[in-house]
């Protein structure tokens, strides 16, 4: 036989139970809602930072590699400099050096700074007045825009086959590779 449940007093406790249950549910939703929102914000920040880093990486990859290799890899920097040197037109330099106006002078030394492209020419002169002639001859024989300038003059002592120890004048000119 089934039990008979009859009560003339309406169950009041259910109101309190439902009320507490609703409060608990609201509290749980609020806690997890705040957590989800916080995680969403963190995700957006991480994605923005990742996009910035990706852009920086692409920009870095688009730069000339020689500039990067100079500071980070000496061997690679040397190779890049050598490649750069081979790309220059050395005939223009030789045209200036081998100009007939410089036959009375003696080219003692030629130096090239691969990094900056600066050329150093050292001539041995017979007199001080010859220095201006050399400067004019180099600039005349070079391409337009090339500028040779006298950096310094110095007296040099060197052995001579005929007269023993003699004194000569050496001049150093600087120019840039074309």
């Amino acid at each position: 036989m089934k039990a008979i449940y009859i009560d003339f007093v309406a169950p009041q406790g259910r109101k309190y139970v439902w009320g507490v249950a609703c409060i608990v549910v609201v509290a749980l939703v609020a806690v997890y809602g705040v957590r989800v929102w916080s995680l969403t914000q963190q995700k957006a920040e991480v994605e923005a930072r990742l996009a910035t880093l990706t852009l920086q990486q692409r920009q870095s990859a688009a730069q000339p590699p020689a500039e990067e290799n100079k500071s980070d890899n000496p061997k690679a920097a040397s190779e890049a400099a050598a490649l750069h040197l081979r790309q220059w037109d050395w005939n223009r330099v030789y045209d200036a050096i081998e100009t007939p106006a410089l036959t009375k002078t003696r080219l003692v030394q030629m130096g090239v700074d691969a990094q900056s492209g600066q050329i150093t020419l050292q001539f041995e002169l017979d007199s001080m007045t010859q220095a201006a002639q050399v400067t004019e001859a180099l600039n005349s024989a070079s391409q337009p825009g090339a500028v040779w300038r006298l950096e310094r003059l110095e007296n040099a002592t060197h052995p001579s086959a005929t007269s023993g120890m003699g004194t000569s004048i050496k001049g150093v000119w600087l120019g840039m590779l074309p």
Binding site: M1, K2, A3, I4, Y5, I6, D7, F8, V9
Partner: protein, 242 residues
Amino acid sequence: MWLGLFERVHVYLGTGLVLVQRSGVSVSKLQPPSTLPLTDVLRWVDEQLDRAHAKPWLLSVHVSAALCAPSVFVSPTGIQRSELSALAQASAARAWGLGPNQEDAVVCCHGAEQRGLTASFLKGVHVAITEWASGHRGRLLELVPLWALATQCQHVRSTAVSAMALLEPDALTWIRQDGHRETQAACWYGALSVADAKALLAEKGGGDWPPSLSAMGFAAESTAEPWPAGPKEWRRHWSRLP
């Protein structure tokens, strides 16, 4: 914590009999004069137990069938809940001997699963009990007819049992459920003996206590040993009828 501010009290109300069980105290049996109106009886109970100086009561009130009788009515299928309540109220008023326009003089409550069965108070009785319970800052937790409480025990809920008879000091109640969940009920009033109960139930097919009938008694006096298969409330007052 808040329970410490109240006292849990169980009360049984019958005709000329009030049983009060307070926490930590043995059952108090009070037998007010039967000529007193219920409101006076309840006020007398308060005086006897010095309720004015006690903690506020949280009351569970069980009432005799003499105060809250069962009644049955035909419940057509497809009927709406509001119509069911009106039908139950009309049936209860008729069971109390009231006229067709006096449905408001009864207060009904019907079980959720037993269509066609209702318990009803006369309105004055219901008001007297509820007002008394809320007196002295008390609170009424439940108001249940004892015959409904009896159906909730293990012995009655057995599948072999299809009917229950409850002999109280002032009433005999009989309830039967058939296989189609249709419910039958009957109630006889007065101080009846077991032999009287058997004779009255004989016309219902239960006079010889068939196995399908759970016949139990509720006594004013407590027994030495509680009946294990009886209801948990009022444990020492239940017994199986011989």
